[in-house]
């Protein structure tokens, strides 16, 4: 599959990256408007500078790297991986200029966390951040969740011949409709309708519980974006517990769960087939694993006798399970509380929930329910094959949108990716322990980064070692793009360098 990297590959990559950056420049207009409304003139300057530099880069790329050809699969995978790096770089400009970060590495960490919908944050003094920057932070998780490339698809790239392939590269490989532009548009329609309804619900809850009306709308929309894209950022240090509101928490849980559904599932259900919800293999797997992890946490917390009433267990424990399992990372307990007063069984339940993650082709991270489902069905299939006589021929099917037969290729792929995830969890843990953190915390944080969850036990802070920040950035990136496109990028770059050396020697 690996082949020599040509000049044309570079050209086409830069061309499409330029297009995507240009698209992002337009999204920066929304926080700019917020800045002007709230008279945050310094933040407004940050965004104008951001917009101008991305427009310049985008235009320059499109001018000097102009090409009419659509990218092939190989190229689109490189575009997917490459555009993330550049998108982070340009989106970081308003972050960096805001002065809320200690170093550029911290900025890049937060950006990667936003784009991968992780939700770990190194931002300092988050309660004094401007409304514009808050808007931008949450918009990035929202945009990152729907895929930067999907955004570009929906609005920018007219010739979509190769665009579907870019989406495959971004791990959203469900084609909802034969037409690719339509697929992207559908994803956005689903997200935008939910944004409207969800923001309204959250804003009403926040207003009822004491926030002023304009702040309830802002906070409502931010927290919705954070929940729906399974991101986990919040405009306040205390995250969800800032609001002290049961209703608000239930609404957030609702959107966390809905945000972790497969977009193909949303599409089928929204097309008038709600029964799919009960038949889908991912939903079944999700319900089973969520129930098991809930039992762990409920058992652990109840046995430890920390909480004296049921509502406490629900709001502190079960909310965290849902948040962990959907890969969101909003929390209504304090990071240090997890370290100092949680029982090991409950802690383990949260770790397992984080590892498993939500559905494929959604914004959730982790193994993904589809893979777990296929893997287990494959396991049963193999066992049956060994038990029954060799002459027996039987098929095993699963239901995901339509009934599909399990093939050994599918099981192998699912197993491989699950193994890859385990490897990055382990890798992050090793680096965390090497940096001097206790094993429990290092494991928790590493899983949280690798599975794009964003819960924290307090390791992630501006003062953590740079090497650990870089490790988490890499694991977040790998986990989000599900390895393959990054392997292609790394492999081809390595090959190109190898070629260059060979050429030089000659």
């Amino acid at each position: 599959m690996l082949r020599k990297l040509t000049k044309f590959d570079f050209k086409i990559t830069m061309y499409y990256t330029g297009k995507i950056i240009l698209g992002l420049a337009f999204t920066m207009v929304i926080p700019l408007i917020i800045a002007l409304i709230y008279k945050e003139f310094d933040s407004a300057m940050d965004f104008i500078i951001g917009i101008l530099s991305s427009v310049i880069f985008g235009l320059a790329c499109m001018k000097f790297m102009k090409t009419d050809k659509p990218p092939n699969l190989f190229q689109s995978m490189i575009i997917a991986a490459f555009s993330w790096i550049f998108a982070c770089a340009f989106c970081s400009i308003p972050y960096y200029l805001s002065g809320h970060f200690e170093s550029y590495l911290d900025v890049y960490f937060d950006l990667m966390s936003a784009f991968t919908t992780t939700g770990l944050a190194l931002i300092k003094n988050v309660d004094h951040v401007s409304n514009a920057l808050n808007m931008w932070r949450h918009m990035l998780t929202y945009i990152g969740g729907q895929g930067i490339v999907v955004l570009a698809l929906a609005f920018l790239i007219r010739n979509t011949g190769g665009a579907y392939k870019i989406m495959v590269g971004e791990a959203k490989d469900e084609s909802l409709e034969p037409s690719i532009t339509k697929t992207a548009q559908n994803i956005w329609i689903i997200s935008l309708v939910s944004l409207f309804v969800g923001t309204t619900m959250a804003a009403i809850a926040a207003y009822y519980d004491g926030l002023s009306w304009d702040r309830s709308i802002l906070h409502g929309s931010w927290m919705f974006m954070s929940a729906w894209s399974t991101g986990g950022f919040a405009p306040c240090t205390q995250n969800l517990s800032f609001y002290h509101s049961y209703a608000f928490e239930i609404i957030m849980c609702l959107y966390m769960v809905m945000g972790s559904f497969n977009f193909a599932l949303h599409y089928v259900v929204w097309k008038g087939n709600p029964k799919e919800l009960l038949r889908n293999i991912e939903i079944k797997t999700f319900v089973v694993t969520l129930s098991i992890t809930t039992i762990f946490v409920a058992w652990g917390l109840s046995a430890a006798g920390i909480f004296t009433n049921l509502n406490s267990v629900l709001r502190r424990g079960i909310l965290l399970v849902i948040s962990a399992h959907t890969g969101t990372g909003q929390m209504a307990v304090y990071a240090n509380q997890l370290v100092h007063s949680w029982q090991p069984l409950a802690y383990m339940g949260i770790c397992i929930a984080m590892m498993l993650g939500g559905s494929a082709a959604s914004t959730a991270g982790g193994f993904k329910a589809l893979r777990i489902g296929i893997f287990f069905k494959g396991l049963i299939h193999e066992t049956k094959r060994l038990i029954l006589p060799e002459s027996a021929v039987f098929k095993m099917t699963f239901h995901h949108i339509k009934d599909q037969i399990i093939e050994s290729g599918m099981v192998k792929m699912a197993g491989l990716i699950i193994l890859c995830y385990c490897f990055i969890y382990l890798f992050g843990t090793v680096v965390g322990v090497a940096c001097g953190y206790p094993l429990g915390q290092a494991t928790f944080e590493s899983i949280s980064a690798g599975a794009n969850v964003g819960l924290t036990m307090g390791v992630v802070s501006p003062s953590m070692p740079a090497i650990l920040k870089i490790t988490y950035i890499i694991t977040m990136w790998l986990g989000r793009l599900e390895f393959l496109s990054i392997f292609v990028l790394v492999g081809s770059v390595g090959l190109a360098i190898g070629q260059a050396f060979k050429g030089g020697r000659k």
Binding site: C236, N311, S312
Partner: protein, 185 residues
């Protein structure tokens, strides 16, 4: 080095509150201390000092939630509305909030607030008054902005010029074609 600092901070965190504890008035804790030492401090009367942030969340029953920020951590404080009314400024990006000193009962899992780690205030004192901190435009940013606009303008100008040229060429082509047609007819 980092490790020694960590040990030192830990030692300070553990030792300092104990020395203060000996005095008769409720000891002052940082919010981070409250969270890390929650099991020991549960149910005790403590004092915290911090900045009131964002907004008070007023509930229907004459009480409010006020969130207090102290260093890297923040905590929710449940208080009567007349205590809350003493706070005039809340911290946002444009305002530095009032620094308040609150004495109250600390709960690790407050059963009335569904297990939240919080403080139920008995008394409140505004230690430092807040003030507005409007954003000022950084002159360096203006310079960067000017340079960027210039570059963008150049790029745009080039494109517009080319576009014009193209349309003109097209026009000329069209005219030539027309002329040919006319001649043929």
């Amino acid at each position: 080095m980092r490790r020694y600092i960590a040990i030192l901070t830990l030692a300070i965190i553990v030792l300092v509150p104990q020395t203060i504890f000996a005095s008769s008035s409720p000891p002052v804790y940082s919010v981070t201390d409250l969270i890390t030492k929650a099991p020991e401090l549960d149910g005790k009367t403590v004092t915290v000092r911090g900045e009131a942030i964002t907004e008070a969340l007023e509930r229907n029953n004459g009480y409010s939630w006020v969130n207090i920020l102290d260093g890297p951590s923040a905590i929710g404080v449940w208080m009567k509305n007349d205590l809350k009314d003493q706070i005039k400024n809340y911290g946002t990006n444009l305002v530095k909030g009032d620094i308040v000193e609150i004495t109250g009962k600390f709960f690790r899992n407050d059963p009335e607030a569904d297990g939240e780690l919080d403080l139920r205030a008995d008394s409140l004192k505004v230690v430092e008054s807040g003030y507005p901190t409007p954003e000022k435009i950084n002159p360096l940013k203006v310079i960067v902005l000017a340079i960027l606009s210039l570059v963008a303008l150049l790029l745009f100008a080039d494109n517009i010029y080319k576009n014009k040229k193209k349309t003109q060429e097209k026009k000329e082509d069209f005219e030539i074609e027309n002329a040919i047609h006319e001649e043929l007819e």
